[in-house]
Amino acid sequence: MKHQLDLTKLTRHAVPAFLIVLLAAPLLAVGGPASGQEETPAPETKPSQPRFRLGAYFEGWQLNDKSLTSFFGHSQKNLGGIEASIHTKFNVDVWVSYRKYADETMTPVYENIDKFEMTATSLGLIYRPIVWKMLEPFVGAGAEFYSYEETIVGETQLRPTTGSASGLHAQFGVYINATKFLSGKIFVRLNSVKDKLEQALPDGPSELDLGGKEFGIGLTFRF
């Protein structure tokens, strides 16, 4: 039987461990050989890596908050995002991404359109432990910054609500280099973002779990 990594089971406790692995990996990758081992000669010419990557991706985003997903009626939303990264050294990139989660439903009595929008900005590091010509697997971690807003269209007594929250993410995936300048990308991202609400939700909870998982494919221009 083939064991698969169940990403939904990656809890908040798993995120710090993931980050430790992430931070340790570049050191293991670029560190010298262990003592007693024979040194391998360094390649004479190391191909230079592109410094920048700009890309767009298409993903499915599954939020953890069951109240929210059941109210709006979608356990997963598909959306697009943009990202950019800059290579520093030791195969480590500083990576930033932006995407917008949006969903809508009708209010139960007057059937006004109820819109929920959340902009998500991610900032983190990506480490590519192995850089092959065609494939560059990566792991990464960083911070999430969310800003959300709920608005009701039309005449209503319901007031709009805004809020923001921040948290952490961990991700892994692989770049698939098609040409010198163009790469494809497959990724999975796990987020842990929670927001304590000043006023409890009508159905009880006073905390919003905006964490979840994202998985998708992208296209990256590198130079």
Partner: protein
């Protein structure tokens, strides 16, 4: 010239006579061939036009005639009627469901109660007090029957007679919650009671006061609130007399004014006193001039109200049953009509719509019982505007993801009775209260137009359990009664159908 004078005099006489636009008919109720005395009849009619005529038969039991759809049936004996040793007083009232409630006395011994519903009596049952003479009944707005009576207690000092009231809640089968309302006097009897628009009980009785060796009598009024607490006390008859203030009784007119009448044996006449609760002013005691009465037993009299007018029915000096009308402006009584065809002993009156029903018995033995109907004497009762029909309350919750609010949607329909009676509705008034709160907690939350049949009560607390009532206001400003909803579910709360709830059919002795 003589002809002109004659015509002038005739015209003057015609104009000076009061116009009589009512009919008086007298019906002998008991048969002519009876050899024993038939006495003390009382009469009542419900809104369906059913009448009960109850009296003490020759076998000293309670007998009755029943009138329905234009026909009298009877006589018959009320089931369980005791054989009375002595019997003077009885009273009968009708509640809002059309049920008749009858109480009579075995004088100086016991009271008995029975009710008549859907054409049948329950068995008479004893009211558990040691009774003294006289009693009165009245109905509160919730159909609680108020009984006012007197009871006597034996003590080493002698016999003490006190006035009490008892209550019979709508579904109870007998009276309870007796309260002694008498102050520090003795020999208090001859009781009557009426209920005002606030459901206060106004009890009048013959109060006996002892000052030195002299016992004097006064007509006393005690007003009790719904909790039977005294809120007012008044010596109505004014100066105390060393004589009997007999058979006082009381009524309210449609404007809420009160009138008390009584017979004063010393002066051999009937008296009355008019009271305006709004201004809290009593008029002077005034005579109902019927001539010098025989001291005994001419004392039966009853004050009644037809619309905003007060009338009085009594046995006069000639022992005829007569009808008088009261003029509050002049504080005087005017003779209206003679209601008996022969000398009478007892009389009792009941106002039924535009008609006055008077039951009486003839004094010649063997005594017989009669019914006099005075048709069309009162103005037609104002058509009462009814509350809306089919009031439905839907409890709703409108929400976004982050916030929400509860509200109740009320919908109703026009009352068909208002449409039938062509009552013009000018407004709807919406009332609200917590389900567990009593009727005094109804609060008006809005007034809506006559053509509005829905209302949203916004932002009600999530844990609220409101019930609602919607009344109609007619073009004269009259408002329909505020009735207690009976619905159990918060989501749907219809107003009740006010027709005839069933009382328990069996009565335990």
């Amino acid at each position: 010239m003589k002809r002109l004078v004659f015509l002038t005099v005739a015209l003057g006489l015609a104009l000076s006579l009061p116009a009589q636009d009512f009919d008086v008919t007298i019906r002998r109720m008991t048969s002519e061939n009876l050899t024993a005395n038939q006495k003390f009849p009382v009469i009542a009619e419900n809104e369906d036009g059913e009448r009960l005529y109850v009296y003490r038969g020759g076998d000293r039991k309670s007998h009755y005639f029943y009138y329905k759809d234009g026909n009298w049936t009877g006589p018959a004996v009320i089931p369980g009627s005791p054989t009375y040793d002595d019997f003077w007083f009885s009273d009968i009232v009708v509640d809002s469901t059309g049920t008749f409630h009858y109480v009579c006395e075995d004088a100086d011994s016991s009271l008995y109660y029975a009710y008549f519903q859907n054409g049948a009596w329950t068995a008479m049952r004893k009211v558990l007090i040691k009774h003294e003479a006289t009693l009165g009944l009245a109905v509160r707005s919730d159909d609680t029957i108020v009984l006012a009576s007197a009871f006597k207690t034996q003590s080493p000092k002698g016999v003490t007679k006190d006035v009490i009231i008892g209550l019979k809640p709508p579904l109870a089968t007998n009276f309870s919650s007796f309260v002694n309302i008498t102050r520090d006097h003795e020999s208090s009897t001859m009781v009557d009671v009426a209920v005002d628009s606030k459901d206060n009980a106004w009890v009048v009785y013959k109060g006996g006061f002892i000052s030195g060796n002299l016992e004097t009598m006064q007509t006393v009024l005690v007003v009790l609130d719904k909790a039977n607490k005294e809120v007012y006390w008044k010596n109505v008859s004014g100066e105390p007399y060393p004589a009997f203030c007999w058979y006082p009784n009381i009524a309210f007119n449609a404007e809420g004014k009160a009138l008390v009448s009584w017979m004063l044996s010393q002066k051999r006449n009937y008296y009355s006193r008019y009271y305006d609760p709004e201004t809290e002013k009593w008029a002077e005691v005034t005579e109902i001039t019927t001539g010098p009465l025989r001291p005994w037993p001419t004392m039966y009299n009853k004050v009644i109200a037809g619309g905003s007018d007060f009338y009085w029915v009594g046995v006069d000096a000639d022992r005829m049953v007569v009808l008088y009308k009261y003029d509050p402006e002049d504080n005087k009584w005017t003779f209206v009509a003679k209601l008996s065809s022969v000398a009478a002993n007892w009389c009792f009156a009941y106002v039924s719509g535009e008609n006055l029903l008077v039951s009486w018995d003839a004094i010649a033995q063997p005594t017989a019982c009669y019914l006099t109907t005075v048709s069309g004497i009162f103005p037609p009762p104002p058509i009462k505007v009814q509350s809306v029909s089919n009031l439905v309350v839907d409890r709703k919750f409108e929400r976004s993801f982050f916030s929400g609010y509860h509200f109740n949607v009320l919908t109703w329909e026009p009352n068909p009775l208002n449409i039938e009676e062509e009552i013009i509705i000018s407004a709807h008034r919406v009332y609200r209260k917590e389900r567990a709160a009593d009727a005094s907690q109804w609060a008006q939350i809005t007034v809506l137009g006559a053509d509005v049949y829905t209302f949203l009560d916004n932002n009600v607390p999530a844990d609220s359990d409101y019930v609602y009532a919607v009344t109609c206001v007619d073009s004269n400003g009259n408002e329909s009664p505020l009735e207690e909803p009976t619905g159990q579910a918060a989501e749907t709360t219809p107003l009740p159908n006010p027709k005839k709830p069933s009382l328990p059919s069996s009565v335990d002795e």
